[in-house]
Amino acid sequence: MSTDTHDVPKMVALYKKLFTILGVITALGIGIAFLHMPVWLAVVAAVVIIIVKGGVVVEVFKPLLATRPILVIVFGLTVFFVIGLIMLPVIDKGTIVGTQHIGKELQMQEKPAEVHHGN
C-alpha cells in the first residue's frame, strides 16, 4: 500500500482487481479438483496454479515495485532462494531416501538369487 493520499483510489482499484482475479482462478482450481489426474499431472497443475496466482500478484504490484528498487531486490532474492529451496531437494538423488525409488531398489536386493541348475 502506498502512503500518498492521492494514490488511495488507485490502490483500492488495484486490490479489487487483484482479489477478483484470484477469486476467478480459485474457482477454476476448484473445478480442476474434481478431475481425477495422475500424480505427475496433479503436481504440474498445482505448480501452474501457484505460478499463475503468484504471477498475478507480482503483475498487479509491478508499478508499485518499480518505484522502490530495494523491494525489487528483496523480492528477486526471495524468488531465487525459494525456487532453489524447492528445486534442490527434488533434483538431488541423495534426498530420495525412503521413497518409492529406494523401495524398488531394496526389493531388487531382497529378491533371492536365482539358482541355475546345470545338466
Partner: protein, 199 residues
C-alpha cells in the same frame, strides 16, 4: 541530543522506504522462505510417495472454499479500512477494520469445525504423511492468523489512541498490519488451498 528513532513515518533517502515498511517486507520474505521450505517438503514427499491421497477425498472442500471467500473479503475490508483512514473517515475505518477481524475469527472458527470433523473421522497428524503435512501447514497458517488478529485487535482497541496523538504514525501502523494481513490471506489463497484441498 534527540532520542527519537528517525524514519518512522518519513522515507529514508537511501532505500526510499521507512524503517517499518522495509522491515515488514524483509519479515515477509523470511516467511515466504519458511512456507517455501514446507512446500518443498510437501513436493518431495508427494513425488516420492507410492500412494498419495487426494485432498478432495479426505478434506472438506465446501468449508475450505467458504474460508477462502472469508479471507478474500477480509483482505478487501482491510483495503477499505486503510482507504477510509487515509481519507480521514475514522468511523468507517473502525467498521471496516472490525469487519476484517471478524473475518479472521470466522476463518479460525471454521478451521476448528474442520479439525473437529477430521478428528471425528479418525484423521490425525499420525494417520498419514499427507495428514501430517496438512496439519503442519494449516496449523502454522492458523498461528499466523492468530498473530495478525492480536495485532489488529490491539490497533482497533488500545492502540487506536495513537490516532489522536500522531495520526500519520497510526495510519502507517495500519498500513504495515494490512500488508501482513494480505500476506497471510494470499498464503492461503495461492498456496495452501490449491495444494492441500484441490490436488
Amino acid at each position: 541530543m534527540s532520542s527519537e528513532i528517525p524514519y518512522i513515518v518519513e522515507e529514508r533517502p537511501d532505500t526510499g522506504l521507512n524503517n517499518a515498511t522495509l522491515g515488514i517486507w524483509l519479515f515477509l520474505s523470511s516467511e515466504v522462505m519458511l512456507f517455501g521450505a514446507l512446500f518443498s517438503s510437501y513436493m518431495l514427499m508427494r513425488v516420492g510417495a507410492a500412494h498419495w491421497p487426494s485432498g478432495a477425498s479426505l478434506l472438506s472442500i465446501p468449508i475450505a472454499t467458504l474460508n477462502t471467500v472469508i479471507l478474500i473479503s477480509s483482505s478487501i475490508a482491510v483495503v477499505f479500512a486503510w482507504a477510509s483512514l487515509k481519507e480521514g473517515n475514522f468511523a468507517k475505518f473502525r467498521a471496516c477494520w472490525a469487519l476484517s477481524i471478524l473475518g479472521g475469527l470466522a476463518f479460525l472458527a471454521l478451521k476448528a469445525v474442520e479439525y473437529n470433523k477430521d478428528f471425528a473421522e479418525g484423521l490425525f497428524p499420525s494417520s498419514s504423511t499427507f495428514m501430517a503435512i496438512y496439519f503442519v501447514l494449516t496449523g502454522l497458517h492458523g498461528l499466523h492468523i492468530i498473530g495478525g488478529l492480536i495485532v489488529n485487535s490491539y490497533l482497533l482497541g488500545p492502540g487506536a489512541k495513537m490516532h489522536k496523538e500522531d495520526p500519520a504514525r497510526y495510519a502507517h501502523r495500519i498500513e504495515i498490519a494490512g500488508i501482513y494481513w494480505h500476506f497471510v490471506d494470499l498464503l492461503w489463497i495461492i498456496l495452501l488451498f490449491p495444494v492441500l484441498y484441490l490436488l
